[in-house]
Every structure is written in C-alpha cells, then in structure tokens.
C-alpha cells in the first residue's frame, strides 16, 4: 500500500499522462452530476452523482450482439467485439464503491455476465473520499450500512481532499500502475498528511446525521412479510422507477430484440421492479399486482434476499432513493417501522 500526495494544480497533468485510458468522471451539467466519458479533467468538486456510476459498467441500454440475417430471416448471432481501451473511472464516492462490490458479486454469481465483467476487469477505479463541504448530502447514511466517507472498498486507489492537494492511497497493483504513470506528478507523503486526511474523513462522518440501526433487520423482515404495514406506506407510491433506476446496486434488466431498417440487434435495458408490467406473466397473471407487493419486494431485495444470495446487504446508504422519491418514501423510516412492528 503506497501513500503519496498530488497537488491540485498538477491533477490536469496526471490526466494528460492517463490519456491511454477511456476516462469516465463526474461531469456536472444543469445542476446534475453524472459519470460520463471525458477527454479532459473531470469535475473535482461535486456532490454525489444523480445517476449512479453503475452506468459505466452496466449502461442503461447495452447492445449484446448483432442478429445475423439470411435473406429476410434472422438466423444467428454475431458477438460485438469489446472495446480494447482500459477504462478509468475517476471520482467514485465511497458508497458507490461499495455498490460495485455488490454488482461484482451479482454479475459473477450463478452465471458470469461477460458484458459487465469484461468492462470491470479492464477498469481502474479511483475513488474520492467524501469530505466537507461538498459531502455529505441530505439523507446520506453510509455509516449505518457499514461504510464510511473514507471507505476504499471496490476501489483501486483512494484520494482524499486535504486543501491544496489530495492524499493518495494506492490499494493494489492497478493503483500502483497509476502511481507509476504519474511519476513525478505524485509527491512523497508524510504522517501529518495521513492524519489530516483521517481528520477530514472523520469530520465528514460526524456530519452524517441520519442513522439506521441495522441490528435485527433480517429477523424483523422474516416476520413481517404478511403485515398490513406494506400496504399502508406504499399507498402513496406512484409506481415510477426513480428509486430503482437511480440506485447504485439495482441491476434488473430486460432483454429486447430490436429490428430497425432491416438490421437487428439484441440489447438489454434497465428495468424496474416498481413497474407493474415488470412481473407480469405470459398468462397475464401478475404475482405482484399491487404497489405494496412491489415496494415490499424492493425492501426485501435490498435487506433480505441479497444477503441470502450474495452475502452482502443490497443497500449502501447513498440516500438517493430518499432524496429523489417524489412522495417521500424513506427507506430508513420503512425499515425502522418494520422493526418496531415485529418486536
């Protein structure tokens, strides 16, 4: 584990040295931050992104393969060659880094998903710790979900803003390769730098005011499946896809064959368990016919099923679903309510 610092004025130089990478970084436009492909230096001061960085490895719409045509009929498939450039994801927030852990487990679970895994393998992830004043945002609760504003899970390198420079910690070989690439740009670090980085992270952690006591959540959910409770709070749900599409760990997709101008492709696009047609069967039977079934599924998937299957809780406490829900369905309140009822 190598520790260095980089002066803020020299960051542009580093991005110049990293131009062999396909760089994705936080870009803010119309007050919204997204991780987008960039050729310059991405934004270094930003709140957590509106659309989660999962879209870098798992785009909202992704081509799987081309359909091969014989005359007027489609008879086969032709793989799309993956891009050969290494990917650099810069500026990942610690909660989103932990979300990558969940997605890594998921896409390598019973079946290895080549599209996600290929991109992930050739990626280097540089995280940016949450420090005041940009972070934390309203409704951040990563510290309750086992994370922290300085967590380096899911990353190859972590940067911490310490005023006029960043404290840089390389976590593995991929991180060391970046240090190598930026030789002369990174400078030696010292104990005082490490302690001021620790202080910045601690200050950010102290500023997080929302808390969720996760002890006993699984027992509570094991008991409360049939409670009327799920109906009560989900009455106000509108059934839109905000909480799932903008969740850093949600990963459901739907596969469609698209034929346009005689050319066909198979592609997948994000889908949401909050849509009523998500679970509809060919017979027209819908096992989750009401909003209560769908909201309950979201909560159980995050806090119950995910742990059964992957051994990881599916919520990292980024707070996006709370901030963006138009009718204030608050996952912290929902979990606490279920816990109280089942006691």
């Amino acid at each position: 584990m190598a520790e260095m610092i980089i002066k803020k004025v020299r960051v542009d130089g580093l991005f110049e040295a990293m131009k062999d990478f396909e760089v994705y970084g936080p870009i803010t436009k119309d007050m919204i931050t997204r991780y987008q492909k960039t050729t310059g230096t991405p934004d270094l001061v930003f709140k957590s992104s509106r659309k989660p960085p999962k879209e870098v490895f798992f785009p909202q719409t992704e081509k799987m393969f081309d359909l091969v045509k014989d005359g007027t009929r489609f008879v086969g498939a032709k793989d799309v060659p993956p891009g050969d450039k290494p990917i650099l994801l810069f500026g990942l927030r610690p909660c989103d880094g932990r979300a990558l852990n969940v997605l890594d487990e998921l896409f390598n679970w019973d079946y290895t998903d080549p599209y996600y895994v290929d991109k992930r393998k050739k990626s280097t992830v540089i995280g940016l710790a949450c420090t005041l004043p940009a972070m934390p945002k309203d409704n951040c609760f990563c510290t309750s979900m086992g994370g922290s504003p300085g967590s380096s899970e899911g990353m190859d390198m972590l940067w911490v803003d310490i005023g006029d420079s960043y404290y840089v910690e390389s976590l593995n070989d991929k991180g060391n390769a970046i240090l190598e690439l930026g030789k002369g740009i990174f400078e030696e670090s010292g104990d005082d730098v490490r302690s001021s980085a620790g202080k910045a992270i601690e200050d950010a952690a102290n500023a997080i005011d929302r808390k969720l006591d996760t002890s006993g959540v699984r027992d509570a959910l094991a008991k409360s499946f049939d409670y009327n409770y799920w109906d009560e709070f989900s009455k106000r749900c509108m059934g839109c896809g905000i909480c799932t599409f903008l969740c850093p760990t949600c990963h459901c997709f739907d596969i469609q064959d698209i034929v346009k101008n005689g050319e066909g492709v198979r592609q997948r696009s994000w889908d949401s368990c909050q849509f009523d047609y998500y679970s509809i069967h060919a017979s027209n039977h819908n096992p989750r016919p009401e909003k209560k079934n769908r909201q309950r599924n979201r909560v159980y998937h995050k806090f119950y099923y995910s742990e059964n299957k992957l051994g990881l809780v599916g919520c990292v406490g980024c707070g996006r679903c709370i901030n963006l829900c138009p009718v204030n369905i608050d996952i912290i309140e929902v979990i606490q309510g279920a816990k109280e009822l089942s006691q």
Partner: protein, 335 residues
Amino acid sequence: MVDYNAMTQEIRAKAKAMLENKEVKYIIGWERGANSFISRPVIIRDAGDTDRLVWNPGCVDNLTRYLVEEMQYKPKRGEEPDLGPVGIIVKPCDSKSIVELIKENIVPRERVKIIAVTNIGTVETNKLRKVLQKIPQDKRAGIDILQDDNEFIIKYDGGELKVPRPELLANKCETCVTHNPVIHDVVIGDKIEGFEADKWADLAELESMSPEERWKFWEDQISKCVRCYACRDSCSLCYCAECVFDKEKPFTWIDKTVDVSNNMFYHLVRAMHLAGRCVDCGECERVCPVNIPIRKLNRLLLKSAKDRYKIYPGMNPEDKPMFGSYDIADPDEVV
C-alpha cells in the same frame, strides 16, 4: 402573513367532521414528511388520525392522482364495490385537475368531496435544498416554512431565515392563473386577489428560437431522460389503465432503449396526449429526477390551445374538452 396554522386546524376539523359523519370513506391529504420539511401524501381513514394532516408551503403534491386510483379501483373477487365519496384536499392548481377529470367522465362529481385551500404559492423542492444548506444540518429536523406576500420565513430550532419569494417559489407559481380554487365543497383560507403577472413570460425564450434551435434545445434536455416514467405516474390526467408505453402484447410501441430517439418519442407522445387537457399543475417537472423542463413542453401546447381555440382547460366543468368540441370558426389551415 398567511396563517398556515389556523388553516391546518380548520382542515383537520373539517376532515374529522366528514369522517365522523361518514360523508366520505377516507380523506386524501398531506402529512409532515419523515425527516423532511416537504410534506407528503397521506390517506386518513380514521377520524382520530386527522391530526396528522398539515397545510404549509411544502405541500407540493397534486393529490388528485390518488383520486383517479380510487375511481379506477377494480374490486377483488368477492369484494363488494364501494362507490362512496372520498374526501380530498386540493390547492387551487390541483382543483383544476379535478375539473378536467370531471369533464372527461373519470370522476363523477358526487364521488368526491373537495376541501380546497387558497394559496399564494408553494416551494420548489430543488430551490429549497439549496436554501437549506444555509441552516446547520442538526437544526433542520423541526423546520417550519411560513410565507407572506414578499418572502418565505424558514423557522428552525433556534432561529429563522428570511428568503425573498422568487428564491424559493415554485416555478409553476410564478405563472399561476388562479390562486383561488375553481371547484370546491369547502374553501379554507381568505380569497386571494392581486399577484398579476405575465403568465407566459417563461416561454418567451423558447418561442424566440428558430425551429432548429428549439429542436436542439429539446434534444439536449430529453437525452438526459432515464425513462423512470415519474412524469407520467405523477400526472393526474395520465390515467390510461394501460399506458401505450407499457403495452407489450401483442407488440411494443416503443423500445426500452434509452436514446434520444426513443426518449423523444415518449415525451412528444405524452405531450400530445395532454394537449388541451394539461392543467399545468407542474407535477411532471417537480418529480423529474434529471431536471428536464417538461412543463415548458406542455405549456407551449397549452398556449397554443388558448390562442387558437380559446380553450384553457381546468377552469369550468361545463366546458367541452378540446378534442370533443368543434367550432366552425376554428383555424383550419393545417387541414
């Protein structure tokens, strides 16, 4: 100064009386949000719960979408249909939605008891988030927002913050056409007069663009869309039991592909389906997670309906719907 506290008390009393007298099955209203100054929708069935109801400038939701849900509810097997009236609390802008729903035979007038408030304006959620940065985080929990003609007053634990009206006022309120409800059984609050403004000022910039520039503008905006369909789901007039964009059998009308072409198809079709019907309640724009100015698209059509056919939806239940009426003097140069 608007006395929100007195109005809240009055709403609670009316709601309580309605529930106790069994005039309504339940009341759709707003309650205080969790850890939030923004209020949220609540359904009150028990007269004892009416103290949960609130009224303040953070009551941003148009609750009429829950009214539509009630009207479209299909009883389960063995369940007796209950066609009794429901109570709903509406702002003046939301009352226009009810008028339109009555015009379109979705809501029978006798099935709804309308408690309407007069309102000089609500807050814009996005703007409020910015303003709240000025208040220490640990003091934000018990916030109250008050308002007079010129400013919003945010009261928090141990202090208050005065914010000039335009810095916090919802965009839709800047072009409001009615501060008094257009339909009601009970009105709460004093009649509001004044607040005249140029109702179409916000469209001037778009209208001055060339068609190419305007297309570019919308392409930029629409490319951000994540197709969460919150704009549709929040809309009280998007009430089709099966939306054309959800239809999968026997085929889909739209790909799930998120690109400019499919997004544009979605937004243009939705806008056209609302032409002459949209009452400009502003919900679509409020709920959008990626800040697309959806209202502008609908307002361009609203203005067009007004200029061309002298139709402004949502003002009078006796009016005929735009697509259901014809006048020999209607402009017909495109036919």
